[in-house]
Symmetry: C2
Subunit: 328 residues, 2 copies
Amino acid sequence: MTNITRRAALGGAAAATLAPYATTQFAHAAAPLIGKQAPSFYRYKIGDFEVTAISDGTTVTPRPDNYVLNASKDEVSALFAANHLPADKATHPYTPVVVNTGSKLVVIDTGTGEANFERSKGMSGQFHSNLKAAGIQPDQVDTVIISHFHGDHINGLLDKDNKLAFPKAEVLVPAPEWKYFMDDGEMSKQTTDRMKGVFSGLRRVFDALGRKVTQYEAGKEVVSGITPVATHGHTPGHMSFVIASGNNKVFVQSDVTNNPLFVRNPGFHLMFDQDPQAAEATRRKTYDMLVAEKMLVQGFHYPFPSLAYIEKSGSDYREVPVPWSPTI
Amino acid sequence: MTNITRRAALGGAAAATLAPYATTQFAHAAAPLIGKQAPSFYRYKIGDFEVTAISDGTTVTPRPDNYVLNASKDEVSALFAANHLPADKATHPYTPVVVNTGSKLVVIDTGTGEANFERSKGMSGQFHSNLKAAGIQPDQVDTVIISHFHGDHINGLLDKDNKLAFPKAEVLVPAPEWKYFMDDGEMSKQTTDRMKGVFSGLRRVFDALGRKVTQYEAGKEVVSGITPVATHGHTPGHMSFVIASGNNKVFVQSDVTNNPLFVRNPGFHLMFDQDPQAAEATRRKTYDMLVAEKMLVQGFHYPFPSLAYIEKSGSDYREVPVPWSPTI
């Protein structure tokens, strides 16, 4: 009853010569190609809360040789290839999250910035347009919570004219992150272009806000149902968040790992982890907790919709993407 | 530098009592909950072709004890639970595909039918609304290709008033499927309610079309770049499709497997496989081919967007979902 063969599966070109009628007999005017992706947002409930994961895009860029400090370029290339990703590139999705608690509309992290859309040829800087596609207007946002001060998390605080993207929102920043990065003494110690860029970039953004921010501490709810968790290492004041309503929870990890390669290889020291040892210790502790609690994780740098369960895999971990639900 | 603890991660309620200010100090009028999922479609290129995977929804329904003929209910329940799916339910996503070849706009399979939207409380019957959200009008469709005659593949040929959903389209059906299922002698042999329902259901649909269909054979292109492949077993005339343009290919498997549990357990005999032995042989042959060719597969019953690579895993297989690209 079965006659599939590789030749049958692949023999399209050969078969075409046998059945030329098929392409002409029922000719219509062709519908135009559309050339646009779906607006990349995904909505789900956590208890009474409505969570919307919103893509800012995915960049695919040349990968520096020292992308993973403690693994060779070839080893990392092989892993990317084995995971069906371009071997010599770095692939970085960006996924901010919006939480409507019923009394507060909260944005967690803001993406690479609308101004980046043109610069990246549309690869990133999509957060603000996808937010609107998701039915959310920027001036409805009550609170923006920033996890840490890297550009892909804070640049979206500004719109493409460098004005406040969320004009009515209170902006919450981690107190230890503010203390460290706003210290001009710390800035003066920096020796690498990348770190100098981080310091000057965040000053550009926060100066545009008149430095009008509210500092928050780990362990104290900042909005009812949203509790920051200290996950330092990636940056000195890096934070994650537990979003809890009813019996449901999701852990918004921010950059505890970058893309899932760093879930499966938690010992890898990514060049963007400011304190690689602390980042690895945080990563293992956090992922052990996620496994033990069977808690959903929303990973900023996971592929959209960036929502997964975590399983133990030997001494490492494996992410299991949540099956997309076409309803909420 | 790190002080995450399970207490910190989970202590939201306790922390709330320490920081009551946070929920009241910056009160705004709350933005309303939106309560709607993103329109579930996903677009990608295969060479010059534009492919759009379009969700018809996902049903979660009570699972019959004989869902897998050759495994116990408990074994199957344990597997569903281990895969983060409801243990005692059957979870079935449905994902028809649209291909714009540049000269033909082609729909492959049609979902459970718009009339099913209300009956399923919106869980399924979404294909036609998501199609429009994807920018495709039903009267633009030139060709509808049916893989096999189960209701979740053919019912969407009709709109909610039982009129032709694609009024200008030629409807292509597998010749061996037509021969078998339109044979009233075969119908009269059926002993189970399910199989009687399959025969009467497809008569209802094709009679509404005045039985005006074009039969196709495996191995002969039906539209330039789209070649049917005989993958019989699930039904007597079941077909899959290779979509090929330039150097790119995707294999539209239809029901060679149901959801990915049957990728990871290809020896499972699903109650809907009409000839379970043939279906398993087809499945293993097809998946060996997908692994050898590193060919993308579009799985009708995979979670949306239902697009994956296949890897060998012991004597079985594992699907690796393609990372969502926020651009095409």
